[in-house]
Symmetry: C2
Subunit: 348 residues, 2 copies
């Protein structure tokens, strides 16, 4: 893998990740770009004790552009995108319309491939491995920034989830605080350690899923994929490396090598259940990593949480009163049934 | 107000709330209804330390029926709905497809009016007052049930929020546990009391909003409506009675009398901003009340949280990776700008 770091016309960083070690990335961004005034502000909600990013400059952001104006495609004569090169493998750049900016964190866009019409599920294993390398490197780099408390790599996919660009891409948010969801996990982890004389809750949860077996979706030598016992979404799959590590940086070579196989298969099963003809399966894929600077970060378990907002083909799960008003999820699909369906559509 | 309690053919409770004291509600439900086997199950997520309701029977529930098959309209010759009467003011019944059932709680449907094509915003003040009476009475009744820990009255409105019935209605969830969102508020309340030598956080938040003034939407003699400082949604309004009370039961007559005026005006402003022509403004309105049996319930402040999922007319706010994956909201509309817009569209 070769990494080349450069800058866009307005000073934002652009990083190429190439599979070929002899790739040359010297294309220059010739657009007359002004720096966007990024006025993102983190506000604390005193009642909920959480933080909200107020990012007013984003209302003007690119919204469902036609394919021939895609800002994530390579540039070509007369059509300059966010990526000056005429082709690329994986490219990462600072978001021009970041939700988090300045002291308030950093937002990056990860282009998975230069092929506008592809999807993550359509990548080869080598391509997916390169994306994993890019996520890992970005986690390392962003963790070094002084204000960053937590690095979050994720993919939103599908117009129904609010994705405004069809080009296959994900995002990375480097938060200036530990997020409420991670805080909850850390609290549960500490309580369990206390209650059990030192046991690790992640280890126990994964071991219990393995022992029960009814919700297992896919077993690799180095990864386990299952629908969690108390799944919040109708089709939700968690992927854990069998050897617990706190973050992507700590993944060993065996786990890195097997990951593309496992993840691509799970994504393809989603597509088999929900179809890809009318519209691609909308999903959110979220990497959970230990925060950068918390005391017990070694106890955290890196894992990927994947879910679709479909309940069945053609029907969506909405977050309504109970979910949005009280944070109580209602799930109409028993996790055991979802897991069974996800096993049925396995590749031959 | 006259209240009449009866039962539907499958044993579910139906309660009429009438403005006329001489209303007679003796219509009998003649449908050949079997009781729906309600297999709802509450599961605890050990990592997030929250509860999920798994309600598999709900997949067969009524889904966008044509208007002439609306189950919330009054019954007429040859067309039997959930409400046997030929007309009604406000009717409440146990949900046939409950998310919470048995020991796991109870779900009710609140029909705001018999007029299928109306909306809450289109109710008269008297009609809205009757709905407030129904919410209050249901809170009293459901709080008496042995397993109930918290009563939540809310309205989901609009197909974009997943509402499958167009008839104006809300819902009531009686949870068998204190919800995570309320727990967070109770924790903040206790921490603030501790840190300030006994001050009430709700009182301080409301007083600070009043003193700042930039986010005030509407001031009544007995109610205050404002966009909160750290609003999670682009257009979010919180309504607090000026005299703090823990729940709807404790509201005094002055506050009860003024509420319809204030709330109807806020809802109508939402409609003025987002239009009602193509589609009604989608919103969630959520009553926050003190849980039934917690120690410091008297410190809690009843209030209504209202928000729309629209960012601007025609654009929706989606919960994507940051919100769903990490519980960190990104809000593109500064609360001060939302409040200003909501003041601009005041009724003459």
């Amino acid at each position: 893998m070769k990494k080349t770091t450069t800058r866009l016309a307005d000073g934002r960083e652009l990083i190429y990740y190439d599979s070929r070690d002899d790739a040359v990335r010297d294309a220059v961004d010739r657009r007359p770009l002004d720096r966007v005034a990024t006025a993102s502000e983190i506000r604390h909600d005193r009642l909920l004790d959480d933080s909200v990013a107020i990012a007013s400059h984003r209302q003007g952001r690119t919204y469902h552009p036609p394919a021939d104006e895609c800002p994530l495609c390579p540039s070509r004569e007369g059509r300059h995108s966010e990526i000056p090169a005429a082709d690329y493998d994986v490219a990462v750049f600072e978001n021009r319309f970041p939700s988090l900016a300045g002291d308030g964190g950093r937002c990056e866009v990860v282009c998975f491939t230069s092929d506008h019409d592809a999807s993550f599920a359509a990548l080869t294993e080598d391509q997916a491995a390169l994306v994993l390398d890019a996520w890992t490197d970005r986690t390392a780099e962003l963790s070094q920034l002084p204000g960053v408390a937590q690095v979050f790599c994720f993919e939103n996919r599908g117009a129904e989830i609010g994705v405004t660009l069809g080009h296959p891409h994900g995002q990375i948010y480097a938060y200036p605080f530990v997020t409420p969801r991670t805080e909850r996990m850390l609290r549960s982890l500490a309580a369990h350690r206390e209650a059990t004389g030192g046991r690790n809750l992640f280890d126990d949860v994964v071991a219990d899923e393995q022992a029960d077996g009814r919700r297992i979706v896919l077993e690799g030598e180095h990864w386990l994929a299952f629908v969690p016992y108390a799944a919040h979404w109708p089709y939700e799959v968690h992927l854990y490396p069998r050897r617990r590590v706190p973050d992507l940086l700590a993944l060993d070579d065996d786990a890195r090598t097997e990951f593309p196989q496992i993840y691509l298969e799970v994504l393809r099963r989603f597509d088999r259940i929900f179809g890809t003809c009318e519209a691609p399966t909308p999903y959110i894929a979220a990497w959970h990593q230990a925060p950068v600077r918390v005391a017990d970060r070694e106890d955290f378990a890196l894992h990927l949480e994947l879910f679709t907002i479909r309940r069945t083909s053609g029907k969506l799960k909405f977050l309504a009163g109970s979910e949005s008003g009280m944070n109580v999820f209602i799930n109409d699909v028993p996790p055991e049934a979802a897991a069974e369906r996800l096993r049925e559509v396995a590749s031959e």
